[in-house]
């Protein structure tokens, strides 16, 4: 079989490393200033992370402002309003924290979050994020490819799927005291989706550790899927032979499929997915198939009917 190497990001999108780095420093400075000026209550834990820019997997579109990325969040554990997480997650404790790798793997392991953050080289990656609600952002994440962690854990032959289980702690997460969703929030990917080089375990944002409202201390980022697939505050990663159930899938199976790939041709039953509003812009723009990451991921779904497997 001939395996075609994806072209990754179109060459016009690639920024020379030096310029990218410069821009990144500039953005970080701006972000830090913005954080200090606008968000006096940002948690103390905002620590600079050292990471290498990954221009190959980064878009050159202008990033959404730090303020918008950290004040407009869907994170029902801290409330269903968009501004609730920024307000209610400030006291959230992200230490001590462990992430357990379990299920169908040869090397199950309980990682301490600080060891995990240091175990794999961190990268800066600027990704588009498309929310199922019809808005989008461009976000500079810091993280490592999930594939690195998976290779280290060595899935057994039975492993077909990866399930992500997030923290269940109603004492800290006020939203979990109400049955809005079936807690804890869980998500899942097929193993090959999880191994895709785009799939990121993010520990930072705009060059610094993740703010609590963005999923600290560690979250998933799957840029070609709707935002809710990218689970926050992960505590367990389990390898299974069966397709895991997901939080939104349990809540409304006809509205949120397992795959939930960004797809402008498959409407959500209650709204169109053809277009999106980029936060910070006035006019809507057309939504791209796989959120513009088709080159990297389209082959994962070859032969599948994405209307059925939405």
């Amino acid at each position: 079989m001939l395996i075609r190497r994806p072209h990754d990001i179109a060459s016009s999108e690639i920024t020379p490393e030096a310029i990218y780095r410069q821009r990144r420093l500039f953005m970080q400075a701006g972000a830090t200033l913005a954080a200090a000026a606008l968000m006096p209550n940002v948690s103390e834990a905002n620590v600079r992370l050292s990471a290498a820019a990954n221009a190959r997997y980064s878009t050159t579109e202008p990033p959404t402002s730090y303020k918008d990325v950290t004040t407009y969040n869907n994170y029902y554990e801290f409330g269903t309003g968009k501004s609730d997480p920024a307000e209610n997650a400030q006291q959230f404790k992200t230490r001590p924290w462990t992430v357990s790798i379990e299920g169908e793997v040869k090397h199950p392991k309980v990682w301490d979050i600080d060891a995990l953050t240091k175990a794999f080289p961190l990268e800066d990656r600027i990704y588009r994020l498309r929310c199922v609600e019809g808005w989008s952002m461009v976000i500079p994440w810091v993280g490592f490819p999930l594939a690195s962690l998976i290779k280290q854990a060595e899935p057994t032959g039975n492993a077909k799927y990866v399930e992500f289980i997030t923290l269940h702690d109603p004492a800290q997460m006020a939203g979990q005291r109400r049955g809005v969703l079936d807690w804890p929030y869980t998500e899942g990917l097929r193993l090959d989706e999880a191994m895709n080089p785009l799939t990121l375990m993010a520990v930072g944002l705009y060059g610094q550790t993740l703010p609590n409202q963005n999923g600290a201390p560690i979250r998933l980022v799957v840029p070609w899927k709707y935002g809710f697939k990218s689970a926050k505050a992960i505590v367990r990663i389990r390898f299974t032979d069966k397709q895991p159930r997901t939080a939104w899938g349990r809540a409304a199976p006809s509205e949120y499929g397992f795959y939930s790939n960004v797809n402008p041709t498959v409407d959500h039953p209650r709204w169109s997915q053809a277009r999106e509003r980029r936060i910070g812009e006035f006019f809507k723009r057309d939504t791209q198939m796989f959120n513009g990451y088709g080159e990297q991921v389209a082959q994962l779904y070859r032969g599948m009917d994405l209307r059925e497997d939405f």
Binding site: D68, W135, R270, S272, F282
Partner: protein, 193 residues
């Protein structure tokens, strides 16, 4: 209390949601998604306006203060005013006059369909709100027509229930208030019989 003073005070209060939106708009205060903020705010105030309009009659009957009737039309017209802002926000800011997308929305999304019907039904009520129109229609026919407001309020709440993704708290609060307001009318009608 003097009814004219109350009316003037309510008039100013009813302008507050608009004033607030304008102040926020000019001070960069509408958040990351200003259009969503405006849509939601004007939608909320339309519904609040409808609830307040429907409160006048029970309040009047319970307190025996019949002059209260004189604020009902104003509250109804303010509901229509905010409904129009809400609708214009959707047509202009949200969809930017993309009429094929708008028609598709009205046709395909139940929450938009009922919202749109509610808005259409509000139009004849607003057009027949003047004393001259009441006279032309005759009090009985006018009253019959304006019973549509019950349906409009129900559709408004249904619109809200159908648009939220998961958290039904807010729409259910409105549903409860509306049930009380309409329930009182049923109860009152039976008592009179």
């Amino acid at each position: 209390m003097n009814i004219n003073r109350l009316k003037a005070a309510l008039f100013l209060l009813a302008l507050y949601p608009l004033a607030r939106l304008l102040v926020l708009a000019f001070s960069d205060g509408l958040g990351a998604n200003p259009i969503e903020f405006i849509t939601r705010s004007t939608g909320t105030w339309t519904l609040v306006g409808l609830m307040l309009t429907l409160t006048v009659t029970p309040l009047r009957k319970i307190t025996g203060w019949h002059q209260l009737l004189r604020i009902r039309r104003m509250l109804g017209l303010f509901s229509f005013f905010y409904a129009s802002l809400h609708f214009i926000t959707y047509i202009w800011l949200d969809q930017f006059f993309d009429f094929s997308a708008i028609l598709h929305d009205i046709y395909k999304r139940p929450f938009i369909t009922v919202g749109f019907v509610a808005f259409l039904l509000l139009i004849p009520l607003a057009l027949t709100s003047s004393n001259a129109m009441i006279r032309r229609l005759g009090a009985l026919r006018w009253q019959k027509l304006h019973k549509l407001v019950y349906l409009i309020a129900i559709l408004g709440v249904l619109h809200y229930i159908w648009l939220v993704k998961k958290d039904l708290t807010q729409p259910l609060i409105y549903a409860t208030v509306l049930t009380l307001l309409l329930g009182w009318r049923v109860w009152n009608a039976q008592k009179v019989k």
